[in-house]
Amino acid sequence: MNALSLETAALRENLSELFAFVEQSLTTLNTPAASRDKLMMALDEALTNVVMYAYCEDHPGTVGIHIFRNNNTITAEVLDHGKAFDPTMHPVPDTTLPIDQRPIGGLGIHLMRKLLTDLRYYRENQMNRLVLTSTWEQPHE
C-alpha cells in the first residue's frame, strides 16, 4: 500500500500546491466523486489550519501530507511540528444561533468532523498527526 506524499514549507503561498496535490492524489487513487469532494473540503480545512496557525511567523516550519487507499477507505495524514493542537477536542459550535450572536469562526473543524467517516489526532515526538478517514460503501456486484 503506497502512500502519495508531499512535504513543503507551511506558507500561504504553498497552499495552492497542497490543494492541487490533494486533488491529484484522490484522482490517482480512483476515489469515488462523493468521497473525493468531501475529503478535499476536509483536507482544505486541515491544511489551511496548519499554514495559518501551527507556527509563529518568525519560526515557519513544514507541513506534510500522506494519502493512501485501502479497499474502500481513503486515509490522509496531515503532519506538522507546530504548536500542539487537537481539533477533535474543539467544542462543537452552536449553528442554530441567529446572525447577531454568531461567532465569526470555528466552523472549519465542525465541517471536517461532519464530512469525514473518522477524524483522529495524535501528538508524537513534538509532532501533530491528524488522521482523516473517508469510507464509502462498495457497490454490489
Partner: protein, 117 residues
Amino acid sequence: MSNAVLFIDENRQDVILVHIMAQRLLDPQQSDALAIHLCELFDSGVLCVVVDMSGVQRLSSIFFRAFIMAGKKAVEHQAQLAFCNLTSLIQEGFEITGLTKLFPIFKSESDALNKLA
C-alpha cells in the same frame, strides 16, 4: 491564485448580484477581499446583495467567516444577503455550518431576483 478577478458586480433591479469568478474559494486573502467588498456594499447603502456561486466548485470555511461578517453588516444596515447557484457539496457545507438558517438560498439567479427585486 490571488491575482485573478475574484468577483464582478451586476446591478439588477436594485439588487446587486456579486458573481464569483473563481472555481476555488480557498485563499485566505481572497476571503478577506470578498468580506471587505460585501461589507462595503452594505455600507454604501445597498439593501440587497445576492452572491452568485455558480462557478464555485471548492470552498473553504474561511469563506463562511466572510459570509457571516457580511451578514452581520447587512443586519446592521437592515439589508439582506442571499446566495444562489450552490453546488450540492457547497449546499451541504452551508447546511452543516447552519448558514442555510442565516441566509436565503436560491436555486438560480432568476429565482433570487423574482423573490427579492
